[in-house]
Symmetry: C2
Subunit: 151 residues, 2 copies
Amino acid sequence: MTATDVTRPPARLCATPSWLITQTATHAARLVSEAFGTVGGRRYHYALLAALEEFGPASQAELGRRCSIDRSYVVEAVNELTDKGFAVRAPDPADRRRNIITITPAGERELERIAATLDVAQDKLLAPLSSGERKQLTQLMARVLDHHTHR
Amino acid sequence: MTATDVTRPPARLCATPSWLITQTATHAARLVSEAFGTVGGRRYHYALLAALEEFGPASQAELGRRCSIDRSYVVEAVNELTDKGFAVRAPDPADRRRNIITITPAGERELERIAATLDVAQDKLLAPLSSGERKQLTQLMARVLDHHTHR
DNA sequence: CCGATATCAGTGTTACTGACATTG
DNA sequence: CCAATGTCAGTACCACTGATATCG
């Protein structure tokens, strides 16, 4: 029995989804950071590169909406991507407020490299769950998230 | 169809549990903060009060272990709880390194008040899920979290 | 001497807010 | 005039690290 487990959390917390989710998110963020090593790998790079690859060139505002990243942070992340040669920033001739961001071949290779690294981290994160349970969890979370991003 | 939905996230992200979890955690934290209003209500207060109520008086180190709160943050949170009269801090005569934290009657009332407020937030958070699905999600998350807190 | 405790100071990430100039 | 865009400065929350003094 674990009746005397000094690390056992209060029952109220274990029954509170928001606590479970925020706690697990902390572990998830740590696992992902560790997977990237301390070398630069921002978590946002993956999201932005994935959006660029799937939907093609886009403005910074569109990238922010798709990836739920604040505009001010998109600026920094795109700076880093262009610094490393993973994306190109160019003014949009049709709308001079916008920048058009385009992924480069090096960026596509980086995307696949990050994806492989991330896969390992997902496996560690969901280690105690079976394949079917992982799919269940993913689908439930996707529905919750979709509900909140569509207001 | 939502084929032209400008807010649709990349498919890669929707299939990445760590992204789903961290994104949902952000929404959860926002909902909980809103529920507490801007009036003081740290998220930690609930965890600490719940631990004190369930396990009785405890040292700050024990509270930190049970609630997964860093020692340095336990100090601040306990300061706030004692300032508001929700807990009492007293030196442990049996071990003079320790402080013994005890919940007060006002703290127990506050705990119930926060619990009711939190219930509403949980309902908003999991709005798109049925009762059975909410239980499923909660149990899956609890197993993942348990795995990582027990190393 | 080692380990645990409480405290404090400081850092890094990230969400958010507000301001601003430019453009549609 | 209003809305959107890109940029920047600043704030808040919180996880984490390290230092320190005290005590078992």
